[in-house]
């Protein structure tokens, strides 16, 4: 039997599944344990198809670049910073999803700290920049 996720992660997933902003939920190891339907265009695949994904996979699949088109290293992504340093992080970048659309994105990422200072993972909320 799969171990049960922590209750805070379950609640984060439930909340994400009701929101229209694209959201990633990752565990302390950076495994993408859930992304909601609005996040599917970013990865170009449905969560039901992919299941959980390790960071090395999700962090490169959407080809993040800076404004000059220079690829962003996985560890420089805001979500990776939120995980590694257990602090909020925010960054704007460009992605090309599997639908081949070039998007200007901002990501706001928060570490998830449970009771007794348990580090549970992080969430990333994505915003598509208009214009």
């Amino acid at each position: 039997m799969s171990p049960q996720q922590e209750i805070e992660m379950i609640l984060a997933r439930q909340l994400a599944s009701y929101l229209v902003m694209p959201i990633f939920v990752v565990d302390p190891e950076g495994i993408l344990v859930f992304y909601n339907e609005p996040a599917e265009p970013i990865l170009g695949r449905r969560f039901e198809e992919t299941g959980a994904m390790p960071m090395r996979e999700w962090s490169t699949i959407f080809e993040p670049t800076d404004e000059a088109g220079v690829p962003i290293a996985p560890k420089e992504l805001a979500l990776a910073i939120a995980l590694a340093e257990q602090r909020p992080a925010h960054r704007a970048f460009w992605i090309r999803g599997l639908d081949n659309v070039h998007r200007h994105i901002e990501a706001t990422c928060l570490p998830l700290m449970g009771q007794a200072q348990r580090f549970l993972g992080a969430i990333a909320i994505f915003w598509e920049v208009e214009g």
Binding site: S2, Q4, A116
Partner: protein, 292 residues
């Protein structure tokens, strides 16, 4: 071996009266006795008053495990006789909040004007403990607490002894926000606590028809309870924490209907005040046997 007695089965508010006499009107309280005489009490609803008077006079230590601090799980505490016995050692376990200790939270109720006696004034030797994240031993019982889906910090308990497991989750809404409940175990609140338990005592406050008006209130509809028990592979289910609005006749009807629809592969014994269950290792005696 564990001997389990239900002293309070009602949810939310004590509901005495002739129409609730059989299922019971006292709020949540369950006694668990281990083979070595260890006594653990699950929640201190109004049922704990009678339990306090029924404990063996030779008992010198009792542990109260609170799932959370909603009043229906706490209201009997000040009337628990061992608290007034200088020879008794009483240990109270429960969850802290994100900002307040268990002691600070308990003191809000156990102090004037809500209650005349302060925590520090009880004559017994009183110890307060915030529930640990890891399993702990209380006599012959191994207790594991886990947070579950209910408003405010709330835990359920998994108690193991000599190859048998009791799980107690009296306030629980695992179906909250799940479009087609149940989903996978991995993403179901309380699943690890209840996994393969010999006896599961679980919230069943609402009927299927009532639940849509109470989404987010932290409780289960009876069909959810049956589905949760199926998902987690329990061997015997005790629906518990009955809604104050449900009479004995209502509960008889709701239980019969829900069990008929779900056709569970495990035993279901509706929680009635005074019911007892003996949990013995399957090899020896065949698991949980209920008596009403």
């Amino acid at each position: 071996m564990m001997h389990v007695t239900l002293w309070g089965t009602r949810g939310s508010l004590a509901t005495p009266g002739p129409e609730t006499a059989r299922y019971g009107g006292n709020t949540s309280c369950v006694e668990v006795q281990g083979a070595d005489g260890t006594v653990v009490i699950l929640d201190a609803g109004t049922g704990v008053r009678r339990l306090g008077m029924a404990l063996p006079r030779t008992l010198r230590r009792v542990d109260i495990l609170l799932t959370h601090l909603h009043l229906d799980h706490l209201q009997g505490l000040g009337f628990f006789a061992p608290l007034y016995n200088p020879a008794m050692e009483v240990h109270i376990w429960g969850p802290a909040s994100t900002t307040l200790s268990l002691q600070a939270r308990l003191t809000r109720y156990m102090s004037p004007p809500l209650f005349p006696v302060r925590l520090r004034e009880f004559p017994c030797t009183l110890h307060l403990h915030e529930v640990p994240r890891q399993a702990m031993a209380i006599g012959a019982l191994t207790v594991t607490a886990g947070f579950v889906c209910h408003p405010g910090p709330t835990v359920g308990y998994r108690i193991a002894a000599a190859g048998t497991v009791l799980t107690y989750i009296p306030d629980h809404e695992p179906a909250l926000g799940v479009p087609r409940f149940p989903g996978r175990r991995e993403w179901t609140s309380g699943a690890m606590l209840a996994a393969d338990a010999d006896l599961l005592i679980h919230d069943a406050q609402y009927s299927a028809e009532e639940y849509p008006q109470h989404i987010g209130w932290g409780h289960s509809a009876l069909p959810h309870t049956l589905a949760f028990a199926t998902l987690t592979g329990v061997k015997h289910l005790v629906p518990f924490h009955h809604d104050p609005a449900h009479s004995d006749a209502d509960l008889d009807r709701l239980m019969t209907q829900a069990i008929h629809v779900a056709e569970p592969a495990f035993a279901v014994t509706p929680g009635t005040e005074g019911a007892t269950f003996d949990l013995r290792a399957p090899m020896a005696h065949g698991g949980a046997e209920g008596r009403r």
